[in-house]
Symmetry: C2
Subunit: 717 residues, 2 copies
C-alpha cells in the first residue's frame, strides 16, 4: 500500500536471512539519498525480522540479495514538484532487483520492497537458490522445521512491479499550532509518510494559538507567541534534511492575514489596534487580523518572508489566506478610510489587495505562492497554487480559470471519519453528495475538465488540525487512515475497492509500527492511565466497539487548547475495526436466504462484549476519569442483548418478509427497536458503532415494529 | 518504589490539574540540574495525566502547587560517590513541598513526587484548598461527576516522607559489546534508572565482540573492532551530560587483558601473536589476550587511558580484569621467558603484574581503579574498588582485607530470574545457599563484618549482559526487575516483603512507561511479528504463562552474536506474572481446610488457558517461526486438564491426608502425575510456569501416586 501501477505475482519467494546484502550500481549509486536509504534498509529489516543484520553493501556487480540500479544522480537543487519517482521491482530466482532512473525512484522502490518482507508461513515456497538463503541465513531457523518443510524465517514473494504515481503532489498538511508537535513527532510522521510514498509535508507553522518557528530577524514572534513551544532554526534545518533524505518536500505555511493572533503579542504594530495582544487559547475563527493598510506591515513581511524563504529551500510558500472575518477591519476608521481611498469595496477586496502585495514579496524571494481557496479572487496571477478545503467544485473552478490546485476537502483526518470515506474521495471525481446538492438546487453539474485543465490538478493533501489532538495521540489520528489517502494519491484511479483497502491497510498498519509509529501503543498507554491500578484488558475490549463522536463535537462544553485530552474518547482510534467487521458480518448474514443463516459467530461476539461489561463496570465506577462512560456501558449491554435475541429469532427462522415462519413474541420487536434506538445515540463523546448492525438484525425479525425513522448515532460532520 | 526511609500517609490528597505550578527557592535554586529537572516535571506530568501543562514556574515565595527548597548548589566537580541525596517531601493542605540540602536530593524527591501522582478513584479525598485545584484545574473534569463526588482527575496523597539511600553506589552494569545498544536505548535506560534512584551507569564498552567507543588517538579500535556500531565521542559527551542531569555517574569499563579480542583487529601489536585478528562472533571466554610483556602495550594503554580519562569525568575507571584464560600466554615462548625472568609463577601472577602497571597508568590520569574479583591478588593497593560477580564471600573477604567493594553476584538480570530472587539478595547478608554449601564442606561460616568493614561495602550493581538480548528487547530484560534491585540498594535493610514488592513493582512498571520505556510495547511488537497476519491476542495469552529458560540455556544449538532474536522465547518477559499469581493462588487454596476451598477462580483460569490453545494452535502451525512451540501448546493442554480435574476432586473433598473423604478413581493420580511431570519439562526454550502449581494440586488429591522425585522445569543456573 499504496497499490502499484502494475503488479504481477509469481509462485516462489526470495529468502531474507542474516546473509542479506545489497549492491548499488549506476550513475546515481553515490547519490547521498541512495546511500542513506541503503543504510536504513539494514536497520529496518533488523526491526522487521529480529535478525541482527550487518550492513553488507556489496561492490557493484557483485552478487547480492538486493540489487539496486539507479541510472543517474539527482539534480542538485531541492526536490521539485514532478521529480521522477518511477521504479521497477523484480523478485525472482532468489534475488530482488530495484531499478530507477533517479534516486527518488529508488526510495519509493525500497519502501515497496520492505513492505513485501513477510514471515514465511507453512505454504511459502522459498526458492533454494539465491543469496538470501545462503551462508548464515540458512541456519536462521534454529531448531524449527523438519527437512522438507518451509524454513522458519522471512521472505519476499516473487513479483514484478512497475510503479509510478498518479499525482505529483501527495501531501499532509500538519497543524502544529493548536497543539504543538515536538520534533520527534514530526520525524515519526515523516517516516510514515515516506513509507506510504507521500512527498509533501505542508507544515502549518503559525495560527492564532501559536507561532511555532524561531525567526532570527523577529525573535519575539516565537518568544511571545508560542509559550516556549517552537522549533529552532537548527531543528527546522534538520527536519528539512530528514525529509529530503526520505523524498519529501517541506512547504511552510504562515497563515495571513487571518489566523494570525500569535504574531501580535511580539509585534503588535502588525495588528489593527493598540496592544496588548494575546495568543488565542480557544479554537475557532478569531478576529485578530494583520493590518494590510500599513506600509510597515509589508516591510516586516518582506523581512520575514525573506528569512523563511532562505530557510526553506522548497519552491512553494504557503500564505494561508483562509477564514478572514473582516469585522475588525470594518470597525476601524483608519482602515475604512484606506479602503475608500483605494476603492476597496469590502474585506474581501482588502484581502485581495493584501494578497497581491504579499505575492510580490513572495515572488521577489523566488517562491511560488500557495494559498487556501479564499485567495482566489479576481486578478490573482496564475502562478498561485490553490489548495481547496471547499471541495472539487471549487478546485475545478480554479482549474478552469487556469490555476493549479490541490484537493484537501474530504481528506480532513481530524474529523474522525472512517478510512473508506476518505478513500472514496477523488480529486478528479465529483462526489455524489455534491451532484445531489446541485441537482436539488437545479444548478448545473460541472462538466469534466479538459485534459489541459486536468493537468492543473496537482494532487491533494490530507489535513490534520490539532484542536482535538495532542502530541500524545497524533499518530493514532493519522494512522492508518493516512495510508488510505496516500493510496488514493499514488495508485491508479481504478484502485477503489474498500474491502481490499481495509485488508491491506491492516497489514500496513502493523508494518508501520516497525518505523516507530505509535498509533497503537500510545492509545494503549492512555487507556492504561485511565485504568489506574486495574488491568486494562476489559477497558480495551469495551473500547474496541466505540468511536469518538465525529467532527468537532468532542467536549463541546469546554473547548480550548488546555483542556485535558485524557478521556476515553481521546484514547480510542477514530475507526473501530471490531465494529466495522461486525456490521459487515451482519450484512453477509442477512444477505443469506433464511435457513442458510448461522448466527453463531455473531452471537458469540455479542456475548463476549456483553459479558465484558460486568468486568469493565467496576473500573468505570472507581476511576474518576472513566465514570462518564457508564451510560455507554449500559447502552452497550442493551445492544448486545437485543442483538443476541434477534439472532435467536432469525436463526430459528423468524426472518422478516413474506416467508416469515416464526417471529418474536408480542411486542418484542417494537419494544426492542425503541430501546436500541435510544442505546444507539451518542453517549457522552462516544458512539457505539455496533449499533447500526444490531438495528438491522432487530429490524429483520418478523413482527410489528416501530415505523419512526431511527437515529443511528451521530451524523457525520 | 524504592520505598523511602520513612513514610507516613494521612487522609486527603493534593489535586494536580492544569493550574499546576512550581516554585523553587534557596541557595541551590539556580543550579542547572534543578532548573532542568523542574522543566522535565511539566513534560512528565503532561504524559502521566494527559493534561497539556504550561511550564509555570512561580517566583520564589509565590504560591505554587509544588514548592522546591534547596539549600545550596552543587560542588562544581562531577557528581561524586557519597554526594548528598537526602530529601523530604510533604503533601498537605493542597500543596506539595520538596526540601533538600543539595540538588541531587531535589532530583530524588521529584521522582518520588511524580510516582505519587495517581488518577483519583471514587474514594480519593481531594482537599478543596490549594493551588493545584484552583483556576482552570477545577474544570478539568469536563462533564464527569455530579457535585459532591470526587472530581475526575489526578492527585497526590497527603504524605510526609524523609528519605535517604542505604548505599552510596547503586548501579547498573550495561554490556553494549555483545549486542550494541544505540544511543536512544542507553538514554531510555538512564531515564528509568533515575526514576528508581539508581546513580551509576557502569558502561561495559569493550569486550571480545565489539569495541564500542571512538578513540581519536586510536581510531582503528572502533573502525576495525565494532562493525560500525559504536558511540562517537560527541555522543558519549552527550550521554554523560544526560546522565548528570539525572543524577547518574557514568563509569566506563574497558575489559583487559582478557575479553579483549576487539582491540586487536585494529591494533594487532597489542596481542600475543601475529595478525590477523578478528572480532569474536560467538559468546563465552576466548583466548585473545593483550600481551602484558611488551613495553609498547603500556605506552599504548597510557595514551588510551589518558584519552578516556579526559572524556569521562567520573573519578572511577573500570579495567575489567575478569575471566582471563592464560593458555595463550603459557603457550608463547617469548611470554614464558618474560614470566621466568620476572619470577611470575603463572598466568595469575602475570595478570597481577599487568594490573599493577595498569593501576599506575590509571592513577597517573587521576582515577580510582575498579575491577572484577580477579584483580584482587596479593599486593594490590587498597585504592582499588572490587566489583564482585562471585558473591558476598568474595566481597566480604575483600572488605576484610581493606578494599572497597560492590556486589553484583545475585543481580544478573540476563539470567531471567524472578524479581523476588534478586530482591532477596543483600550485600550485607550471606545467602542461605552459601551458608549451606559451607556447612556441607565443614568450612567456617564468615562472621559479620566490623562496622569499619561494613563501610567498605559501597553498594551494588545489577548487571545486564547482552549475549541473549538485543536493543529490541533490552527494556524487557531490565524492567521492571531492575526496580526491585534498585529498592534493595536504596531502601532500609528491613524492607524485604516480596508480596509488597510485587504489588508496588506492578504500579512502578506502568509508571515507567510514561518515560518512554518499552518493556511491554517492544515485546508486544515482537509477538505481532511472530503472529504474521493473524490477530496476536491468542499468542499473547498463550505466552502469558511461559517464561524463557533460565541462565544461558536459550538456543544452545547455535550460540553466536548474529543469531536471530525473533522467537517466542525472545518475545516474553523473564517473569510471568500470570503464572506467579496462579501459583500463589494454588498455595492459598491448598492452605485452606478442606470444605472451605473454592477452586472456581483457579478452574476458570485453567479453562481459559486451555480453550485458548485451540485458538493459538492454527497460528503455531502456520507461522514458521512459531512452529517450534507446538510442543509447549500440547504440554499446556495437559497441564490445564490435569489442574481442572484435580480441582474437581479437591473441591469435592478428595483432599490428600488423613481426612480424605473422596479421591480420584483408580490410577488417575499416578497417571496424571506422570503426564504432568512430562509436561512440566522444558519445551524448547520455554518453561510453562503454571506447572509447579498444577503439580501441587495433583499431588494434593487423595489416592496412590508416584513416588519418584519430579522435574519441575529448568533448574536455576
Amino acid at each position: 500500500m499504496p497499490w502499484p501501477a502494475s503488479v504481477s505475482v509469481q509462485p516462489g519467494a526470495v529468502a531474507i536471512g542474516s546473509g542479506f546484502s545489497v549492491s548499488v550500481s549506476g550513475g546515481g549509486a553515490t547519490d547521498g539519498r541512495v546511500t542513506a536509504a541503503v543504510e536504513r534498509i539494514f536497520e529496518r529489516l533488523t526491526r522487521q525480522t529480529g535478525i541482527p543484520l550487518l550492513p553488507r553493501v556489496a561492490a557493484a556487480g557483485q552478487s547480492a540479495t538486493l540489487t539496486i540500479v539507479v541510472e543517474s544522480k539527482d539534480h542538485g537543487a531541492p526536490q521539485r514538484l514532478g521529480d521522477d519517482e518511477r521504479y521497477s521491482l523484480e523478485c525472482s530466482n532468489g534475488r530482488v532487483r530495484i531499478s530507477a532512473d533517479r534516486p527518488l525512484g529508488v526510495l519509493r522502490g525500497i519502501e515497496t520492497f520492505l513492505q513485501l518482507v513477510q514471515e514465511n508461513t507453512s505454504s511459502t515456497e522459498v526458492g533454494s537458490k539465491g543469496a538470501g538463503s545462503a551462508g548464515a541465513g540458512s541456519t536462521d531457523a534454529g531448531s524449527a522445521g523438519a527437512s522438507g518443510a518451509t524454513a522458519a524465517g522471512f521472505s519476499v514473494p516473487d513479483v514484478t512491479i512497475r510503479d509510478e504515481p498518479r499525482f505529483e503532489w501527495r501531501g499532509l498538511s500538519l497543524d502544529v499550532s493548536r497543539h504543538f508537535i515536538p520534533v520527534e513527532g514530526v520525524r515519526r510522521t515523516l517516516d510514515g509518510m515516506a513509507a506510504v510514498k507521500l512527498n509533501v509535508l505542508h507544515w502549518h507553522l503559525s495560527d492564532d494559538q501559536g507561532f511555532r518557528i524561531e525567526s532570527k530577524k523577529y525573535p519575539r514572534l516565537a518568544q511571545e507567541g508560542s509559550d516556549g513551544m517552537y522549533y529552532t532554526q537548527a531543528e527546522v534545518r534538520g527536519m528539512i534534511a530528514y525529509a529530503r533524505e526520505r523524498g519529501i518536500r517541506i512547504v511552510p505555511e504562515f497563515d495571513m492575514p487571518g489566523h494570525a493572533a500569535s504574531w501580535l503579542p511580539g509585534y503588535p504594530q502588525l495588528g489593527t489596534h493598540a496592544p496588548p495582544y494575546q495568543i488565542v487559547r480557544g479554537a475557532g475563527i478569531f478576529g485578530s487580523l494583520i493590518d494590510p493598510t500599513k506600509e510597515s506591515t509589508y516591510k516586516f513581511l518582506d523581512g520575514f518572508v525573506g528569512e523563511m524563504a532562505k530557510l526553506f529551500p522548497d519552491e512553494y510558500f504557503h500564505i494561508g489566506g483562509d477564514e478572514v472575518d473582516p469585522k475588525e477591519w470594518n470597525q476601524n476608521t483608519r482602515i475604512r478610510a484606506f479602503m475608500a481611498a483605494h476603492r476597496l469595496a469590502d474585506g474581501a477586496a482588502l484581502q485581495t489587495y493584501f494578497n497581491q502585495r504579499l505575492l510580490k514579496i513572495v515572488t521577489r524571494h523566488h517562491k511560488h505562492m500557495e494559498g487556501w481557496d479564499e485567495v482566489l479572487t479576481p486578478g490573482l496571477p496564475k502562478s498561485v497554487v490553490i489548495q481547496s478545503w471547499r471541495g472539487q467544485e471549487s478546485l475545478w473552478q480554479a482549474a478552469r480559470e487556469g490555476y493549479q490546485g490541490l484537493l484537501s476537502a474530504g481528506y480532513y483526518l481530524d474529523l474522525m471519519q472512517p478510512a473508506s470515506k476518505h478513500y472514496a474521495v477523488d480529486p478528479m471525481k465529483l462526489p455524489q453528495e455534491t451532484i445531489e446538492r446541485l441537482q436539488k438546487k437545479n444548478a448545473p453539474i460541472p462538466g469534466a475538465l479538459t485534459p489541459e485543465q486536468q493537468k492543473l490538478i496537482l494532487g491533494g493533501e490530507a489535513a490534520m488540525w490539532e484542536e482535538l489532538a495532542t502530541a500524545e495521540n497524533l499518530d493514532a489520528k493519522l494512522w492508518p487512515r493516512l495510508a488510505a489517502i496516500a493510496e488514493r494519491f499514488w495508485s491508479p484511479e481504478s484502485v477503489t475497492d474498500p474491502v481490499s483497502m481495509y485488508q491491506r491497510m491492516a497489514v500496513t498498519n502493523r508494518w508501520l509500527e516497525w518505523l516507530g509509529l505509535t498509533q497503537r501503543s500510545s492509545l494503549e498507554l492512555m487507556r492504561m492511565r485511565l485504568a489506574g491500578d486495574l488491568p486494562v484488558g476489559p477497558l480495551d475490549e469495551f473500547a474496541s466497539v466505540m468511536e469518538p463522536v465525529k467532527g468537532y463535537a468532542r467536549h463541546a462544553e469546554r473547548y480550548d487548547i488546555f483542556v485535558p485530552f485524557n478521556r476515553l474518547v481521546d484514547a480510542i482510534p477514530p475507526e473501530s475495526n471490531g465494529a466495522r467487521e461486525f456490521r459487515e458480518e451482519v450484512d453477509r448474514y442477512l444477505a443469506l436466504p433464511q435457513g442458510q443463516r448461522d448466527g453463531a459467530a455473531l452471537r458469540k461476539r455479542l456475548t463476549e462484549w456483553g459479558q465484558n461489561i460486568d468486568r469493565v463496570r467496576p473500573m468505570l465506577q472507581t476511576e474518576t476519569l472513566l465514570s462518564e462512560n457508564l451510560a455507554a456501558a449500559d447502552a452497550l449491554a442493551v445492544l448486545c442483548r437485543a442483538g443476541e435475541e434477534a439472532l435467536g429469532y432469525l436463526d430459528a427462522g423468524g426472518s422478516g418478509g413474506a416467508a416469515a415462519s416464526g417471529g418474536a413474541p408480542g411486542d418484542w420487536k417494537a419494544r426492542t427497536q425503541t430501546a436500541v434506538a435510544e442505546a444507539a445515540k451518542r453517549k457522552g463523546d462516544l458512539l457505539i458503532q455496533i449499533a447500526p448492525g444490531v438495528e438491522k438484525l432487530v429490524d429483520a425479525v418478523a413482527g410489528p415494529g416501530v415505523q419512526a425513522p431511527k437515529e443511528t448515532g451521530e451524523d457525520d460532520q
